[in-house]
């Protein structure tokens, strides 16, 4: 008689594998938020908060939805649809409205969201919100952004649920994704480089989150840091994101000053590569940054070879 495909012994082994798999999944995917004692005492700098809010491009995703006709387009009341490969997301309200915005958020809540990717209720946040970059920021800078957001007019606009499949399983699965691909190390200055270069490096790699689109992703959708800033397929679907390396050598920009002009003027001065694939919004934000910061970003970016 032929051997049955599964002996009882095999089934027991299989059950053990599945059970231990679930346990590993359960442990690896559990969120690990910070507690209040982890947050330093900080005196807010609103000007710095506003600069980093702009550098972070918060408004580009948290723009008011089409139903908020009375809300100014530069108030991050949320609700505008964001189409991604996993479904349509509705980025939430960042204004200080206590019920539907961040009005009741503590500093700990804000740091956990921005730097750990964990919501106040303890859920993993979807990394379309680039906490993967914000995690590298100085904690004081993140608190300054919170302080700046508190100065904005409160808007009542409850967050619409995201339109994605298997949302709750995916949320938990994100823990696994974070386990393999979430680099939480703080940004470190390079003492061999100028202060301005370092400022640029910080803005690009921290708040600016340029990496999220300009670095290709692995099959696990984590940033492929062996190809940092080399560009690749657009994360939202169509088109190709350009490489940020050797921009001058490749003839894309004449020199650092030319890139500064491109950041500040975009296509108004004929810089045709500053519009598509979301870069138009980024350029709009860059044009609102202080001159010194735009120059710092250009110095850093043109140094990438």
């Amino acid at each position: 008689m032929a051997r049955a495909i599964f002996q009882p012994r095999d089934l027991a082994a299989l059950a053990l594998i599945v059970a231990s798999g679930l346990m590993v999944f359960g442990v690896a995917t559990r969120p690990h938020p910070l507690s209040a004692t982890d947050i330093p005492v900080h005196t807010a700098n609103l000007k710095n908060g506003k600069t980093l809010y702009i550098a972070g491009g918060c408004i580009s995703c948290h723009a008011p939805g089409p139903d908020l006709k009375d809300v100014s387009a530069d108030v991050p009341a949320g609700g505008k649809a964001l189409k991604t490969p996993i479904g349509t997301l509705y980025p939430p309200n960042l204004t200080p409205d206590p019920e539907t915005g961040l009005g009741n958020w503590t500093a700990t809540d804000f740091i956990n969201a921005m730097q750990k990717g964990i919501s106040p209720s303890g859920e993993h946040l979807i990394p379309a919100f680039p906490y993967t970059s914000y995690a590298h920021m100085k904690i004081g800078d993140v608190l300054d952004i919170k302080a700046y957001l508190e100065t904005l007019p409160p808007v009542k606009n409850p967050a619409k649920p995201h339109d994605i499949v298997l949302a709750s399983l995916m949320r938990r699965g994100l823990g696994l994704w974070k386990y393999i691909g979430f680099d939480e190390t703080p940004w470190i200055a390079d003492p061999a480089k100028s202060e301005r270069w370092n400022r640029g490096s910080y803005l690009v790699n921290g708040p600016g989150h340029c990496n999220e689109c300009h670095t290709p992703r692995t099959i696990f959708m984590t940033s492929d840091n062996s190809k940092k800033f080399l560009g690749g397929p657009h994360p939202e679907g169509k088109g190709t994101v350009p490489s940020l390396r050797s921009l001058i050598e490749r003839g894309r920009y004449k020199d650092e000053a030319d890139l500064v002009s491109a950041f500040q003027n975009g296509e108004e001065l004929g810089y045709t590569r500053m519009s598509s694939g979301g870069m138009g919004d980024v350029q709009g934000n860059l044009s609102k940054l202080p001159d010194a910061d735009v120059k710092a970003i250009a110095e850093y970016v043109t140094s990438l070879k």
């Binding site: 169509k238 088109g239 004929g270 598509s276 919004d281």
Partner: protein
């Protein structure tokens, strides 16, 4: 005999014409609109250095640039048939938003046309410099919403 010949020749002509018409579909539209964009790029290459002060203002050169751009793009309304959204033979950065939001795309095209007309009416450097950013912004407005990211 001659009737048969005429009939055959007619059939052949009809076939050739049919094939020609079929070829004038999506792919030719992509070729035509790329030529238009290329001409626009070349025209910008003439005007932008004047805006940046790298070259002196040259009214005649501006006029020629705008005319060349206008000519290359004169058939604009025929550049976007439904079968030109994608192509197996050519690369296109046209976003599917063009066909999903036809009204928005038409408005973006009109913004460009208006800005181009305004710029072509300028006769001195001050007027040129004042009118140019609107044209650039119209290019950008359309590229932002209706062109996909390109390397």
């Amino acid at each position: 005999m001659s009737k048969v010949f005429i009939g055959m020749a007619g059939a052949l002509m009809a076939l050739t014409l049919g094939a020609g018409l079929a070829m004038a579909g999506g792919d030719d539209s992509i070729t035509a609109r790329k030529a238009c964009m290329k001409a626009n790029g070349a025209g910008m290459g003439v005007m932008v250095p004047m805006i940046k002060g790298e070259k002196p203002y040259d009214a005649a050169a501006v006029k020629t640039a705008l005319e060349t751009m206008g000519k290359a793009c004169s058939a604009w309304d025929t550049f976007w048939p439904d079968d030109s959204m994608t192509s197996t033979t050519q690369k296109t950065h046209a976003s599917d938003a063009i066909w999903k939001d036809k009204a928005g795309f038409a408005a973006a095209g009109m913004a460009y046309y208006t800005a181009e007309q305004a710029l072509s009416k300028t006769t001195d450097e001050a007027g040129f410099k004042a009118a140019f950013p609107a044209l650039g912004a119209a290019c950008g407005g359309c590229h932002k919403a209706f062109r996909t990211a390109m390397e």
